[in-house]
Amino acid sequence: MNLKNTKLMTILLGLISCNSINAHHSFAVEFTAEKTIEIEGVVSEIWFRNPHVRYYVDISDNNKVISWDVRTSSPSLLVRKGWTKNTIQVGDKISIIGHPGRDGRKLLSVISIKLSDGSSLGQKYPKPEKLGKK
């Protein structure tokens, strides 16, 4: 099943909860919970490993490429909901809503991710779906 073509990509992640419940340190220290931003870019690198899953996302800005470190939860909590290491792949164009890092650091703690086909991963979609792609 090609996940990019399915409209069943809505997953309950409760990402704020994921970020915080299993955070390995204080979310509030590194991220601005009171601020939300949206970025759009191309996935350049994926680390689907503990302590946090990370997507490096390149954003073009005035002919410069800026890499953001986009963080979600722990792999074992994500895969229970069907979000596997293949759900997002290198080269995918995605937009992410999240809490930025403090002190202007290019870090983003994910609230939701919108994929190029319009489907989304994130807490705004409360119906859990097992994506099943291994």
Partner: protein
């Protein structure tokens, strides 16, 4: 008539009586009433926020919350020293004001995202019970409503009951509520000195894939764990950090030269149907995200209780480390039996941590902070 008294005499009599009553009220308010407050309030209580009274059994509250939300539970201790009220919740200091039979308690807590906020409890008390309402002050990640609270005298009975083992084997997933997540603890001067420049996102063991040890893991509210039962041993398999813990039920002594470690050495016994675990030989470590220290050689006491229907496991977890804490810190946890999950692999790669340090030119600073990761 001889018995008839004059108006003047009557007036004098009434004046004398009223003066006596006023003096009595004054003396009562100034001396006796505070003494009664002292004797009424001092001691240990079980605080329950937004919950039913439940049953109290040696500090484990079993009972469904009245509002269908998970109750928050904590041990409150009150004492008066030099006419000043001292209070602790879960071993951490709280502000207390007492005026006649009115009590106000302010408890600092930290939410799941790390925001520190306050619960202000106001209410009345008698010798057996307190009750009132509480409000939230400060920023929280998810807005939390206030509500009602009660406190009931803690049963001082610590009698050891004949063992009545129950079957707690199986898979358990964390359930919400219960823990106060008390923020500040009553640190000794030694601990304050060590803790003052701790930075969790550089110094916390798990940011670089080092297990935080059993004190943090046992109270970690995100991952499931499994209990296996075998002869004279229980084995806890934690998903987080793939840690394995052996709990010897046969009074086994640690082997000679057994080292201190993050998981320590655990013995267990049944007190009635509660499982009590005593852990020794803990390695110097930090207690949780805040980085409060644990001494090398500290101990931990845990008490696990199974609900009557066998579906809920509750624990009271107490760190015994007088070198660092004036009062033992207490955590509470609750899990739900969940045979539909499994323990997932937990593999950790510290590359991303060091890469971030490198990208931000902080590697040198990180290595200069090595003393933050060595605790005596």
């Amino acid at each position: 008539m001889n018995h008839i008294i004059s108006k003047t005499e009557l007036s004098k009599f009434l004046k004398t009586i009223s003066q006596f009553v006023l003096k009595f009220i004054f003396v009562y308010l100034v001396t006796i009433s505070p003494l009664m407050a002292k004797t009424s309030v001092e001691g240990k209580w079980m605080l329950i926020l937004n919950g039913g009274k439940g049953q109290i059994d040696n500090s484990v509250v079993i009972g469904a919350p009245t509002d269908n939300k998970a109750a928050i539970i904590g041990e409150l201790s009150l004492s008066q020293i030099n006419e000043k009220w001292m209070g602790h919740v879960e071993g951490g200091p709280v502000d207390v004001k007492i005026d006649n039979n009115v009590i106000e308690i302010v408890v600092d807590s930290r939410d799941l995202a790390g925001f520190v906020f306050f619960r202000r409890l106001k209410g009345n008390f008698s010798t057996k019970e307190m009750s009132g309402t509480f409000t939230i002050e400060g920023t929280t990640e998810t807005p939390e409503a206030g509500g009602k609270w009660i406190a009931i005298r803690k049963d001082p009975n610590n009698e050891l009951l004949p063992p009545k083992p129950v079957d707690i084997s199986g898979l358990w997933t964390p359930a919400p509520g219960v823990d106060f997540r008390k923020y500040s603890m009553d640190l000794t001067e030694k601990a304050k000195l060590w803790h003052k420049d701790y930075i969790d996102h550089y110094d916390q063991p798990n940011v670089r894939c080092v297990s935080p040890g059993i004190v943090a893991i046992s109270a970690w509210g995100a991952y499931p764990f499994e209990i296996l039962k075998s002869e004279e041993r229980l084995t806890f398999l934690y998903e987080v950090d793939s840690e394995v813990r052996r709990i010897y039920m046969n009074k086994k002594e640690p082997p000679a030269y057994y080292p201190t470690s993050g998981m320590g050495f655990s013995n267990g016994y049944w007190n009635g149907s509660d499982l009590v675990i005593e852990t020794q030989l803990l390695e110097g470590n930090v207690r949780d995200f805040r980085g409060e220290p644990i001494s090398d050689g500290a101990r931990m006491h845990e008490r696990y209780s199974l609900s009557e229907d066998g579906q809920t496991l509750s624990a009271v977890i107490t760190l015994l480390d007088p070198a660092n804490y004036e009062q033992p810190p207490i955590r509470r946890r609750k899990w739900t039996r969940n045979s539909s999950t499994e323990i997932y692999p937990y593999e950790c790669d510290p590359d991303s941590f060091y890469r971030q340090m490198y990208d931000e030119n902080k590697l040198e600073m990180y290595f200069e902070r090595s003393h933050r990761r060595q605790i005596d």
